[in-house]
């Protein structure tokens, strides 16, 4: 049975195989995005001693579907002096990179759509492209609030990208490869080999700049409801607005997954090197304890939860504070740590000595 399935699969044209894989990746991703929005409202609700959405379906479980349906049937308003083509292409430009970046994210050893050597470079390039959607949206709307939001967003994303890039350089020095799968495998052996141990300052910088890159609270002056109403997407409605929203949440999930892959050993089990090998060969429990996709999902889910947690906990930064944090704290920290790492490499101390 499985054999005939395999031959059937192998006889399919390559393009169809790729498309099937992409759909198998995108459908769970879009499902996660939809239910992430519900989780956000529920979790923040409980943190503020409210119930959150609880009318549509049992305990509000159908809320994302109701929201999507509502947005589909809303009018897309194009302001009269907006640049129509740019106005409509901006959401797509924000959305496409957020999805396409998933092409190189590995979920388990070898379980990746495109196993390329320049994986991390590709991710860095695509996450930088997302800013174009925001700027174009702000400019094309021809509205003051939208333009202000776009300016803020451009300066902020660009500032934190430097800190993020430096943090990635530290990871590369430790792993010696741009391939995400090899970066994870370089952390094998036990949780003390995970990069979070040796690169802890870079881990903090990466997490903070990840929050700033996705324009999430406490760095959400781009949308700052109380100052510039909704920032760059103030003029968007209906599906055009929804697409921006999907992009933001897909980016949050992407950053969470990347944090897990780059610093927390991705799919590697934290019990590696602690339990005897015999424990991993037990029937079901052994599979659960051993490295696998479930560990990656658990770690990703933790960071996704943390995104919501920050939003419920921290007050919004002022814009000058954001720029100061990015340029005067995070960048010096990363440069110092890269120097430290260089000295450690020269002295052959640490996991990269081999």
């Amino acid at each position: 049975m499985t054999e005939s399935l395999m031959t059937f699969w192998n006889e399919l044209p390559v393009l169809i195989q790729i498309l099937v894989k992409i759909v198998a990746l995108l459908l769970p991703l879009m499902g996660t995005v939809a239910y992430y929005t519900l989780a956000e409202r529920k979790i923040i609700g409980y943190m503020q001693v409210r119930l959150g959405p609880n009318r549509v379906g049992p305990r509000g479980a159908l809320q994302p579907i109701a929201d999507a349906l509502k947005l589909v049937f809303k009018e897309i308003i194009i302001p009269s002096n907006a640049s129509r083509l740019l106005f409509l292409s901006a959401p797509v430009l924000a959305f496409a990179p957020a999805l396409a970046a998933w092409a190189v994210v590995p979920f388990d050893d070898g379980m990746v759509l495109a196993d390329i050597n320049a994986g991390l470079l590709y991710i860095l390039a695509l996450t930088s492209l997302g800013v174009y959607g925001v700027i174009i949206a702000g400019w094309a709307s021809n509205s003051k609030y939208a333009l202000l939001g776009a300016m803020r967003s451009a300066a902020q994303i660009v500032s934190y990208e430097i800190a993020m890039g430096f943090a990635l350089v530290g990871v590369l020095m430790a792993s010696g490869s741009l391939n995400l799968g090899e970066i994870v495998n370089a952390q094998g052996g036990g949780f003390w080999n995970w990069f979070i141990v040796w690169l802890f300052p870079l881990f903090l910088v990466y997490v903070i700049s990840g929050v700033a890159e996705t324009n999430r609270s406490p760095f959400d002056v781009v949308e700052g409801e109380s100052e510039i109403v909704a920032g760059f997407h103030v003029e968007y409605s209906g599906m055009a607005f929804a697409v921006f929203f999907l992009a933001e949440y897909a980016n949050m999930i992407l950053i969470s997954a990347l944090t897990a892959l780059l610093f927390l050993g991705g799919w590697l089990s934290p019990l590696q090197g602690i339990l005897p090998d015999a424990a991993f060969s037990l029937p079901v429990i052994g599979w659960l304890l051993d490295s696998g996709i479930h560990w990656l999902l658990i770690k990703t889910a933790f960071f996704m939860f943390a995104f919501l947690w920050y939003r419920a906990t921290f007050p919004r930064y002022r814009y000058d504070q954001i720029m100061r944090l990015g340029w005067k704290v995070l960048i010096p920290v990363t440069i110092v740590w890269i120097f430290v790492e260089g000295v450690l490499v020269a002295l052959k101390i640490g996991p990269w000595s081999a």
């Binding site: 390559v14 790729i18 498309l19 995108l26 589909v72 809303k74 009018e75 897309i76 308003i77 302001p79 009269s80 409509l88 959401p91 496409a96 957020a98 999805l99 396409a100 092409a103 495109a114 390329i116 470079l121 590709y122 400019w139 021809n142 509205s143 003051k144 609030y145 939208a146 333009l147 300066a155 660009v158 500032s159 990208e161 430097i162 890039g165 430096f166 990635l168 350089v169 530290g170 590369l172 020095m173 010696g176 490869s177 741009l178 103030v234 003029e235 209906g238 599906m239 697409v243 000058d320 720029m323 340029w327 005067k328 960048i331 440069i335 890269i338 120097f339 260089g342 490499v345 020269a346």
Partner: protein, 118 residues
């Protein structure tokens, strides 16, 4: 090796298509009833005062210039970090000198107040 990049090309095409289709569906399914005030740019209920593509603070421009310098630096660091094993101590020391020069520049722009937002 190059065939590994085919899925990426397909993925980008699919992602763009999904985005276009989503916005297109919104156009097909939603109503279309334009109106004067409804289509005006939002400005808290006022008529728009002047063109919204106004002058903006030069510091945004400054940040963009500084970004290019530092981003280039990262572009130099990426291949260096990957090849660290092969280039050994010589590579480490030369990058340390390169970074030191950039750190001097960073201190200079800090002292000049290029990073201030009051």
């Amino acid at each position: 090796m190059l065939e590994n990049y085919l899925p990426i090309l397909v993925f980008i095409a699919v992602a763009l298509t999904v985005g276009v289709v989503a916005v297109g569906v919104g156009f097909l399914a939603g109503p279309y009833r334009p109106g004067g005030a409804k289509n005006a740019p939002y400005e808290c209920g006022f008529e728009a005062f002047e063109d919204s593509r106004m002058k903006f603070d030069v510091r945004y421009y400054l940040v963009a210039i500084l970004f290019i310098i530092f981003d280039l630096e990262i572009a130099f660091l990426f291949p260096w970090a990957v090849a660290l094993d092969a280039i050994g101590l010589f590579g480490l020391v030369s990058m340390a000198i390169f970074l030191a020069i950039l750190v001097i520049g960073f201190i200079f722009e800090w002292k000049k107040g290029a990073l201030e937002w009051e």
